[in-house]
């Protein structure tokens, strides 16, 4: 509509060129990343080797392609967004926080009459009760810029039963050796600092959106492996239930911790577990799976980006 703008100087205004285009956009195998700021790191520099987790998730499709499927789930948590991000690599909480859910699953399953097949839900929830040693040996990898992942050697996703017909399709697409290598990767959670997490073996992406200092919206995206059996999507969706009792445990902890932060009794949150003085600056290292190095690493990245323009 031009009428009403004549001789107003509109052509010289900031509004004349319409919405500001996003100048830095990158489509990485179907995932579109945008950077609004002209400064800062470029795509390769920012993500570096961490893109291997996206690669592994996508390679799990015999067609090398993912499709958004199953609906996008959103849920609201009354806690600070950083708690959600730190939790992704916190391997010391499951056996305690999830005793009520995973522990009950283990107990109820013990008493269940012998049947031929373990239900998918039991297979998914029970490993949360694995002992500390399991999580220690699972390992954590640290990359640049706050990124990293749990599950270097194995993970709670390692022992899912085979899905009929899937491996044959993978073998036909990639050859046996490569197919085994793709599926042998059992990365648990890959954190992309500041606020994305993906689960390759589950085909899931969670986006943590800060709404307020004590409010976080979580968006959970699920993907179908193109050309793979539906049963894999079914498992993905079962893992992703928001009303999951495992989720109830976590949310209770976040909200209690958030309340605790309002107290001045101790204003520090300790992240010293398995600290080593030479860790700053190290990248692409695999460490003990119960280390809080990833969280320290996230704060080092935070400091780096917050002071970049200074």
């Amino acid at each position: 509509m031009k009428k009403g703008y004549e001789n107003t100087g509109f052509e010289q205004s900031h509004a004349a060129s319409g919405m500001a285009p996003v100048r830095h956009v990158r489509n990485y195998r179907g995932f579109v990343f945008a950077k609004i700021n002209d400064g800062g790191l470029d795509f390769e520099e920012f993500f570096g080797e961490s893109l291997s987790s996206f690669d592994n998730m996508i390679d799990r499709s015999p067609a090398g392609q993912l499709k958004v499927a199953g609906g996008v789930l959103r849920y609201m948590h009354n806690c600070n967004w950083k708690m959600r991000v730190e939790n992704q690599t916190d391997t010391c909480h499951p056996m305690v926080a999830h005793e009520s859910s995973a522990g009950t699953v283990v107990e109820v399953w013990k008493k269940a009459p012998p049947v031929t097949k373990k239900p998918m839900a039991v297979e998914i929830i029970a490993p949360f009760m694995s002992p500390y040693e399991f999580f220690e040996n699972m390992g954590i990898r640290i990359w640049d810029n706050g990124h990293g992942h749990t599950g270097v050697h194995h993970s709670i996703h390692s022992d899912y039963s085979a899905v009929p017909g899937y491996f044959d399709k993978m073998k036909a697409a990639y050859g046996e050796e490569r197919a085994k290598a793709i599926l042998g990767e059992n990365r648990h959670n890959t954190v992309y600092f500041p606020n994305i997490m993906i689960k390759g073996p589950i085909q899931l992406l969670r986006h943590f959106k800060p709404i307020a200092a004590n409010k976080t919206l979580v968006e959970s995206w699920t993907f179908q492996l193109v050309d793979a059996p539906d049963m894999l999507l079914e498992r993905t969706l079962m893992y992703n239930r928001p009303t999951s009792i495992v989720g109830h445990d976590d949310l209770e902890m976040y909200e209690r911790a958030q309340e605790g932060l309002h107290s001045n009794g101790n204003e520090w949150v300790n992240l010293q577990r398995l600290y080593s003085p030479d860790e700053a600056g190290q990248t692409n290292v695999a460490v003990n799976g119960t280390s809080e190095w990833p969280m320290r690493h996230q704060y080092r990245a935070w400091t780096k980006f917050m002071t970049m323009g200074m």
């Binding site: 789930l73 079914e234 969706l237």
Partner: protein, 170 residues
């Protein structure tokens, strides 16, 4: 707390009133947290389903807020009683307001009856109280002279909203 026991069906084919009484009783068992008795209303192959999407047709390949068989429901009930269930310290309470259930279909030959119950479910814990408005669709059948739930579908009016914990049953 007053306990109202379940009445046996008078005949092989349930009357509308018997199905209405059954719905009212189910809500009462949940409100009074008599979860073992509540679970007993469900057939062994039953499912409890809360869709995520409006008019959702597929519980398997579309995400749901809840889609659980009897094993998972029994785990949920056990968990509520657990000594280390921190999200239930203190416990939640809930309250149902039902409209009179309507019998949508009755098919005695197939032993299948469907009812429709608009309801409000209020769940509270500490200072928080949340109101959920929903329609419950029950698929029922008769087993050994008792009504049993084969499928309970709860469609929330705001099924696609971002919720926090919903810990009890709607």
């Amino acid at each position: 707390m007053s306990m109202v026991a379940e009445a046996q069906l008078k005949n092989a084919v349930p009357t509308d009133q018997e199905m209405i009484d059954f719905m009212v009783r189910e809500a009462r068992l949940i409100d009074q947290q008599r979860f073992d008795e509540w679970l007993d209303l469900y057939a062994d192959d039953a499912f409890y389903w809360t869709p995520l999407e409006w008019d959702q047709t597929d519980p398997r390949l579309t995400c749901s807020l809840m889609y659980e068989d009897k094993l998972l429901l029994s785990i949920r009930v056990e968990r509520l009683k657990g000594a280390r269930t921190f999200s239930q310290k203190p416990t939640s309470r809930c309250h149902h307001v039902l409209q009179t259930p309507q019998v949508d279909s009755r098919n005695p030959a197939a032993n299948n009856y469907v009812t429709w119950t608009p309801m409000h479910h209020i769940e509270t814990r500490m200072d928080e109280q949340t109101l959920y408005a929903a329609w419950a669709t029950h698929h029922l059948s008769v087993e050994n002279g008792r009504l049993k739930i084969k499928l309970r579908r709860v469609d929330l009016i705001n099924c696609d909203a971002a919720f926090g914990n919903i810990q009890l049953f709607m």
